[in-house]
Amino acid sequence: MNLTLHRFHGGIHPAQNKEQSTHQPIKSIPLPSQLILPVRQHSGTPAKPIVSVGDSVLKGQVIAEAVGHRSVPIHAPSSGVVSAIEDRTTSHPSGLPELCIIIDTDGLEQWCEHPNLFNKTDCQSLSDLPNEEILEHIQNSGIAGLGGAGFPTALKLYKTKHHTHTLIINGAECEPYITADDMLMRERADHVIQGAQILLHLSEAKRCLIAVEDNKPEAIRALHESLQVLKVNPAIQIVSIPTVYPSGGEKQLIKILTGEEVPTDGIPADIGVICQNVGTAAAVYRAVYFGEPLISRITTATGDAIKQPGNYEVLIGTPLPHFLEHTGYIAQQPERIIAGGSLMGFTLPELNVPLIKTSNCILAPTTSELPLNDLAMECIRCGQCVSACPQGLLPHQLYWFSKAQDHEKAEQHNIFDCIECGACSFVCPSHIPLVQYYRHTKGEIRTERLAQQKSEIARQRYENRNERLARIEAERAAAREARAKAKAEADALRAKQEAEAAATASPDSQIEDLERKILAQQDRVTKAQKSHQAAQEANLDTADILFKAVEKQQTKLQQLEQELIALRNNVTQEN
């Protein structure tokens, strides 16, 4: 059946530089004495180490488990002893250290128990097993996308909102210098086909398209032969696509094969497509049929500074110096090793980094082969970049906005749709490093968004705190009021009780009260008289005043006595 191919906007035709590394078959290199495994070799949450320093590990044993659902486990690529779990520089452009598990190999390459899926579950074929179990096995084998992004493979295959109608196996490998997928397809085509079969079964897609650029005729031939021999699902077909960069980009490949575009802010699953790399498919095959976790990959070593360019099967975690030594690297001045190809690769911050699951190519150029960037000149608005952009953006406008730090306009012009392929920088006649500007601006916008979120949360917390303090204040005020009210009520009640008591006191008690008062008054009279006498004997002036005081007290006494008599009379009268 003939598939109509479409074209995507733009694209460039850089020099391929692939012949250097395809003259020899895939080779292996001697076992390194130390393996450095970063806990993050995939896109998502880093894995958590489950071994400790000093533990012995076997080849294929799990040494770090996945954390959360966007994570994959890490396995020991060879047997040995864990000598350290510490921060080391990794294959990342920042040069910042990451947690790594370091294994000193013992040279024995002793495998742990690694049953394949059918032995493990005692089944005969894939159809006997539920998809979840197969996916769990793939997840536990630590498989992430080997094309470069490292997305957890099992996660990509989980049931999505929309049903998948097309599974694409990406063997395009459009970037110059890289030939890892090419050699894999030539030498292990059956791995790829079988892997595609498994993925087709899991994704429940209607068809599977294995796309290969037409600059790889041997690979296409090998795949066709393998397809005929293996007699797999007839829905799998090999498609040869025209050679143009970046046809291997996920979105571009989907456009070529299906004519549909992945929407902005969307993923291919939104339009019913799943895309997997050929290397990933081969790894899935090894995991399902041989129980082998992802512990090695094919890496291209190329560039004029490498004397034995070619493709090598390397263990994950192989230190780069060891790899360079066994591929005949000649040290250059200035030293520049690029991880990746000549368009999307980045210069490694230092040489002492490990190769990881996503290291598809190590490019060691001489300065005459890939000169350091010329001086950038002014943008003349020639529009070549617009013609080249595969995503249909306006690179020169994005450049102006990035320079002016106008983030709002840059976002409006869809800067986040840029796949950083480098086609615009390639064609720019003024040698402006356009992609660097976009990477920087994207980072700034993301940081701004995070800061905005943080300040929003801070504002919320501040307002909550104010509310809490206001509430506490209100409660205190209410309590104070309540207390004051209660006190006032108690006082009123007491006063009322006293008044009542006074009003309803019986005559006898009144007489008693009076008698007490009279006694007290008599005391006072006596006291007054005494002080008067003392004053008189001392011939003081105050004697007169004291005499008057005595008289006053005596008058009061007489009053009280009269009151008593009257009261007694009353009582007698009543009786």
Partner: protein
């Protein structure tokens, strides 16, 4: 007499026209009444919400309201130049450089850190924190939740044993991003590298 008549004849229609226009405008004034101050809300959204008080106002919202009433826009050090530019953009005024009297912009974001060996559990810092980023209770250990700390450093002063430091937040591999390419045209000739990588 006729001069007066001409003048009146000219003035009266104008006066009637003016009265009619006045009535129309008065009606429009009532019909299109605007409540509240939406500008203050938008300004508050731009400010960084550290509630540090370095601008002289007790929090970000009071400063936002002051700006809406005519206060100068260059008093917020945590917000820095980018905030001043955003406010200038919103209000349509010229951005001014940060007023150094209120503090300088930090190069690196800072968070507070309590040295736990020295903490006496007095809760003075907890009361000072405007976003409740310090966890603790009386006579219990106090500690700063670094994710919530805005770096306003209002907690440093009240601490009686001076056990709070402001430490810079380190860039991790998660929030690292590429630097902007430098414009090599600014380099002088002897500093430029040639094709072979050596200084010319």
């Amino acid at each position: 007499m006729s001069m007066l008549w001409i003048l009146l004849l000219a003035a009266i229609p104008l006066v009637i026209l003016a009265m009619f226009s006045g009535a129309l405008l008065g009606f429009a004034e009532v019909r299109f009444k605007v409540e509240g101050n939406p500008i203050a809300d938008q300004l508050n959204d731009i400010l960084p919400q550290t509630q540090c008080g370095q601008c002289g106002y007790p929090g970000c919202r009071p400063y936002a309201e002051a700006i809406a009433a005519g206060e100068k826009i260059n008093k917020c050090p945590p917000g820095g130049e980018s905030t001043i530019a955003a406010i200038a953009d919103l209000l349509g005024v010229e951005p001014e450089p940060l007023d150094a009297e209120h503090g300088v912009e930090d190069d690196v974001p800072l968070v507070a850190f309590i040295r736990e060996e020295e903490c006496i559990g007095c809760t003075k810092c907890i009361q000072a924190c405007p976003v409740d980023a310090i966890v603790g209770a009386a006579k219990q250990m106090h500690t700063v939740i670094s994710d919530e700390c805005t770096g306003c450093d209002l907690c440093v002063e009240p601490c009686p044993v001076d056990c709070i430091d402001m430490i810079p937040v380190e860039t991790t591999i998660n929030d690292w991003f590429w630097q902007a390419p430098s414009n090599n045209l600014e380099l002088i000739a002897t500093d430029r590298q040639t094709v072979t990588g050596e200084p010319s």
